[in-house]
């Protein structure tokens, strides 16, 4: 439970999106390009194809102007899982396949990171809806994102209340008292979440909500979105040709 911070002090994954060079691109175009890119890279088995794809994504990251430390910090979260997969492959299939899987997953993760750090979350949801994601699912994701910080604030307040009443924490999770305290905290968080969800739904209804979240401003793709899509298309084509041996380049 250590490390919780007030909502106003938390870093959000899209906090640098507005200052990014990729901010003004149509989120639908960015989303489709990213999905196509990730699906293609996920199927690559040739090192050269994966490396070229990786260089492209790194170049885009530099172009985007998102702070490297922000990207690195978010990549580091995925690195644990990537490293685990690579280590497993190392023991079962050897170092070449371990390297392939490490790079392949890393490039996919970096492409997705680039998408989410350069696109405000709510615009992303708008793009999902435009691509026919079910209304209910999109709204659930949106409201979860909006209110997760509120819930984390409540958990932080509960933590401070425990400390103020002399709670020091147990030596381990096997400590019965610590376990009981954490269980109660989790349970109370669920209870409060349920109450808050009811209040939020009442507030939505009172403001005319009918299942659809409408926002100002329509999504509009323009010439530079076409350029971005073309660039992605060319890179995917080239890397696919490298993968299939149509183009030759040996590392």
């Amino acid at each position: 439970m250590g490390g919780l911070k007030a909502a106003s002090h938390r870093t959000e994954i899209d906090q640098y999106a507005k200052g990014s060079r990729l901010f003004d691109f149509d989120p639908r175009v960015k989303l489709i390009c990213t999905i196509v890119f990730v699906v293609a890279v996920a199927m690559f088995r040739q090192l050269e194809a994966i490396v070229v794809a990786g260089i492209f994504i790194l170049a885009l990251m530099i172009f985007s102007r998102i702070p490297i430390r922000h990207l690195a910090a978010n990549y580091a979260v995925a690195l644990v899982f990537i490293a685990f997969a690579a280590l497993t492959m190392l023991y079962t299939s050897g170092p070449d396949n371990a390297l392939l899987i490490f790079l392949r997953i890393s490039v996919c993760v970096m492409a997705l990171l680039l998408l989410v750090t350069t696109t405000p979350f709510f615009k992303m949801i708008k793009a999902f809806r435009a691509l026919h994601m079910p209304k209910l699912l999109a709204n659930m994701i949106m409201f979860t994102y909006r209110f997760i910080f509120v819930l984390l604030d409540e958990m932080e307040r509960m933590k401070l209340a425990r400390i103020a009443r002399g709670y020091k924490g147990g030596k381990s999770l096997l400590d019965r008292r610590a376990f009981a305290t954490i269980s109660s905290t989790i349970g109370m968080t669920f209870v409060r979440s349920n109450q808050r969800a009811t209040n939020i739904y009442d507030a939505l209804l009172s403001r005319g909500y009918d299942g659809e979240v409408r926002t100002l401003g329509k999504l509009k793709a323009g010439p530079r979105d076409a350029l971005l899509a073309t660039t992605f298309g060319v890179v995917v084509l080239m890397t696919t040709m490298l993968e299939l041996g149509v183009l030759q380049w040996r590392i």
Binding site: F149, A203, S206, R207, R214, T215, L216
Partner: protein, 275 residues
């Protein structure tokens, strides 16, 4: 013309708990009414019924000509705006301007009209410079004003406010009072803060599951039984003036605001000097 009419309204929750019993009252267009009472009196429940979110389990309720039934509740809700006690419950969108636009967009208005209403609502609440701010980074007072702007942008005929000044600092309280003082809609405020009630409204409903009192404040402040039953406490200057009246034998209508109290003191003190 009546905006609101309640006739023998009762409300019980699903678990059987009876929150409201035999409520009978009407509220005219443009009236300003306070709803006071102890914790658990049913004030929030009543506000939810007035907002069309709950349907009475017995009796009939009419909101601006719409009878409150399950079928017609969405129609009734269009005419009413409810300010929740916790603004985090009613601020949903990523920026202040998008949140204020949420209601008008749901009303089916065109984008130009929505933008106009958003600009006007932000101006009325003094939040123009917060347009692109992220709501959950704002202070409580700022969030309340954003929530208020969201309601005003919908132009409802009736404004319902659940403890609007709770947890606000004095300046935040003053800012919200200033916004509400200029409004011409029918306003119903549920509050423990009698000084806010005195400032903004001229009629009070004292609620404790049922109506204990319905009338002007001047009658309530003299009804010690109703005050005690409802666990209400007058503002300190009102209590001061009551004790002064008792100890000096002076008779005057109980002052409800600082200005009224000052006026009484000037009048009675000056008169006393002349004797």
């Amino acid at each position: 013309m009546e905006d609101i009419g309640f006739n023998e309204v009762c409300y019980s929750y699903d678990d059987g708990h009876c929150a409201l019993e035999n409520l009978n009252f009407t509220i005219k267009k443009g009236e300003r009414v306070s709803l006071v009472g102890p914790n658990g009196a049913g004030k929030s429940t009543l506000l939810h019924i007035l907002a069309g979110l709950y349907i009475p389990t017995k009796g009939t309720a009419e909101i601006m000509g719409v009878r409150l039934t399950k079928k017609d509740a969405p129609l009734a809700r269009r005419n009413v705006g409810l300010l929740f006690q916790d603004p985090d419950d009613q601020i949903f969108m990523p920026t202040v301007s998008e949140d204020v636009a949420f209601g008008p967009m749901n009303m089916g208005l065109d984008e130009q009209e929505v933008r106009k209403r958003v600009d006007e609502a932000l101006r009325m609440t003094g939040m123009e410079s917060y347009r692109e701010r992220v709501p959950h980074h704002l202070s409580l007072g700022e969030k309340k004003r954003v929530a208020m702007a969201g309601l005003l942008a919908m132009s409802p005929g009736v404004l319902l406010l659940d403890e609007p000044t709770a947890n606000l600092d004095p300046q935040g309280r003053r800012d919200l009072i200033n916004v509400l003082q200029e409004r011409e809609e029918t306003i119903i405020i549920a509050t423990h803060d009698l000084s806010v009630a005195f400032h903004l409204t001229n009629r009070v409903l004292v609620l404790k599951k049922t109506l204990l009192y319905d009338g002007p404040f001047t009658g309530l402040v003299q009804d010690q039984d109703a005050l005690q039953e409802a666990r209400l406490e007058l503002p300190s200057f009102s209590r001061l003036m009551q004790r002064w009246a008792k100890e000096t034998g002076k008779v005057f209508p109980p002052p409800l605001t600082v200005d009224e109290a000052l006026s009484v003191l000037k009048d009675k003190y000056c008169c006393r000097d002349h004797h």
